[in-house]
Symmetry: C2
Subunit: 153 residues, 2 copies
DNA sequence: TTTTTAGTTCTGCAACAAGAGAACTAAAAT
DNA sequence: ATTTTAGTTCTCTTGTTGCAGAACTAAAAA
């Protein structure tokens, strides 16, 4: 079902996902749905190829769906669910990650307001950081738009 | 020692740090070193203001130093260490986070090489994603340089 | 030399996460 | 009506994390 190369890639993808905080099972499911020749796989196909228990498979798939990385479709006259990667959303998820950093600007601005005026250098580094976070939070979405435009032309 | 507002901010900062994967103790130490009027605090000052045990304080500080968020200085004729936020490095740490995403481009390119040619739409979404990740990984450092230049002028 | 200081390390516990296996469930097939 | 299918949920085990409290250590002070 899977070549050695594919298995290797699943592990490689798995490791990076684990570093990003996902569990081994979820990480491997995401990997499998990227490298598999069939992009739509059933519960049991996933369970078997990854050697997971039913519970682990069920939980992993539900988590993967909750974090918007996997969805399933059904086929007429077939009770099984066919799970597949929501790969077209990955880009949005990446952007969401970038955007999450923006909240630091607001928090750090609040800190600035409360800081005593004696610590000049520190306060300056703080406002500098706020400026940086605001700059990046503003420019990164702009970059995104640029990329989209480049693509359409 | 701390106003209510400062305590509030420590918790607020703490929560965001926890969401980023740090433990409660480390998260609060980082918060304290941002909001405290004295930017250099001793072990015992940190321990007392945060109501931590010695071991928790020790571990939290060592972790905070390992992740490059805190350092300590010493003063002549004083055995105590004075811990302080490495706030000027935060910017770099943020960039490091951004840069970490770049590795997906390489992995996903490997996936592209192994994919069967039947799944045209999927493969296209994949190469599209690779292109996006590469674009962002290239442009974000450029943004950084722009920000630095804007600042000096 | 003994005591104090400024931490570190060890021990133990409570809480939680990951996953296996078995029991369960609801719909569909027979 | 009963069996099969396609999962879900429960129970249990194992491992990990976060922290407190106590024991420890190495350098400095008395």
């Amino acid at each position: 079902m899977l070549t050695d190369r594919q298995k290797e890639l699943i592990e490689k993808i798995g490791l990076v996902h684990e570093q990003e905080g996902l569990s081994p099972a979820v990480s491997r499911v995401l990997g499998l749905l990227l490298v598999s020749d069939q992009i739509e796989l059933t519960f049991d196909e996933i369970r078997e190829t990854l050697n997971l228990s039913k519970s682990a498979t069920s939980n992993a798939l539900n988590i993967a769906m909750k974090i918007n990385r996997v969805e399933y479709i059904t086929k007429p006259g077939d009770r099984k669910r066919y799970f597949r990667s929501k790969i077209h959303l990955w880009r949005e998820n990446l952007m969401a990650d970038y955007r999450k950093k923006a909240c630091w600007a607001d928090i750090l601005k609040e800190v600035c307001k409360c800081r005593c005026s004696e610590t000049k250098e520190f306060n300056h580094a703080l406002t500098d950081l706020v400026d940086f976070v605001e700059y990046m939070s503003q420019e990164i979405p702009r970059l995104y738009k640029c990329w989209e435009q480049d693509k359409t032309k």
